[in-house]
């Protein structure tokens, strides 16, 4: 299932995202934790365990119980919001337009691709949630800044920003899943994939005849980087060639009246 980020109290979430924690002198024991520390711990845990991490696990990493976190953060949904935005701060806020928009968009897309590879759990946060945090804004702003330089109108740019964003996310998700597949069971992704397709071939030997066009799609394969596992090569190739098509589409839109 999906964690819907942005489901908590909007005011509280947005305050946490934009204000940071305001430190005053206050009665009571000195806080041993902080929102920042909790968000960092959450990211570390999620990098290892995925979005299905538990509040207990985050607390444990900080030497506290799960309930201690609730002093700083309203709940798991809000924590995910904060983690989501925090990780995005790893990404550049602007790209050079010296060589035009095309290399800049390409760089943006590759940066996102690698980012998702570092933090696969980000892809498991609902991708349709509204943009909320400052770093998230900055990432989209960076892409928008590149594309505005094409001179296309807002109406078209919105579609293009969406298309690029969805495409990179989707492509990254295939490679993420390829890596994670064996994760739980410890199988390498190759083995896991072959186990499934072997069973499929056994049960449905005429598969190629039933879906001839899919068979055609399988032609013309050669690894980009032979040191990478098969599925990763595949995902990388699809990412690159799909991105080229998208960029050509933008170029066509720019060239038109």
């Amino acid at each position: 299932m999906v964690v819907y980020a942005g489901q908590g109290d909007p005011r509280r979430s947005i305050e946490l995202l934009w204000r940071g924690s305001v430190v005053e002198s206050r009665p009571g024991p000195k806080p041993g934790l902080s929102v920042d520390a909790i968000v960092d711990a959450g990211i570390a845990v999620a990098d290892e365990q995925g979005i299905a991490f538990s509040m207990r696990a985050v607390g444990e990493r900080l030497g506290r119980t799960a309930m201690a976190l609730y002093t700083y953060v309203p709940g798991k949904n809000e924590l995910v919001d904060l983690m989501y935005d925090r990780t995005m701060s790893e990404l550049p806020g602007a790209y050079s337009l010296d060589d035009g928009w095309r290399p800049a968009v390409t760089q943006w897309a590759h940066d996102m691709w690698e980012f998702y590879g570092r933090h696969p759990w980000v892809l498991q946060v609902s991708q349709a949630r509204p943009v909320l945090g400052p770093h998230e804004f900055a990432v989209i702003e960076a892409l928008a800044a590149i594309l505005v330089s094409t001179g296309l109108p807002g109406r078209q740019l919105r579609g293009i920003v969406g298309a690029i964003n969805y495409f990179v996310r989707g492509a990254a998700q295939t490679i993420t899943e390829a890596r994670a597949a064996g994760g739980a069971t410890g199988e390498a992704d190759e083995e896991w994939w072959y186990a499934r397709s072997a069973v499929l071939m056994e049960l449905e030997p005429e598969l190629d005849k039933k879906f001839p066009m899919l068979h055609v799609l399988e032609n013309d394969r050669e690894p980009i980087d032979p040191s990478l596992p098969y599925l990763e090569n595949d995902a990388l190739e699809n990412f690159r060639s799909g991105l080229l098509v998208l960029l050509d589409g933008i170029e066509a839109a720019v060239a038109k009246p």
Copy 2:
């Protein structure tokens, strides 16, 4: 969190997906349920509650306990696999190429768009899982059949199929979320959205200055269909204009040497 479909025993999953239930005369009480009935009930429950439906809810809809389902289906993951593939049977298996590939791809994309609107939970099943079931194959086969007619090589087609698929999924997810946003609390999506952006404007009044390019992106808006809610109009417009860019990109690839 994400339900990873295809995490169960591969043989059992694939047998259920491709073989259907084999009926023999057997000792013991007559089965009151069937895999089909369970899958249908699961789809109905998921249409209402999303992917976070419970086995208890599915059982209840059939007048049984949750545990009764385990006689027919190995677990929730496998049930989701079956539900996923079953819903895909709603989609056409082939498209007319009389007017060329472009209208056919457009129709495919719109059919998918509406399909996701009917079954939003499908978008919450990990999008990167390997294709497993016959109807899922058929849907991709239909798209592949259209695109093979362009004469492009497999290498490029794989990227294109991926790009279209990711784009449609992503675009559909935004509208799905727009609809679901108020769902839990009963707010209309408009109100929910405005509540959030109002708080954001209050806390960060200089937002437009901080992210000027995003502000540019907001220009040039007019509703496609004024009877639709604001956010749905937005999503629909982005879907259509993004798709045009993608199609232009394919056209450019076809025109090239």
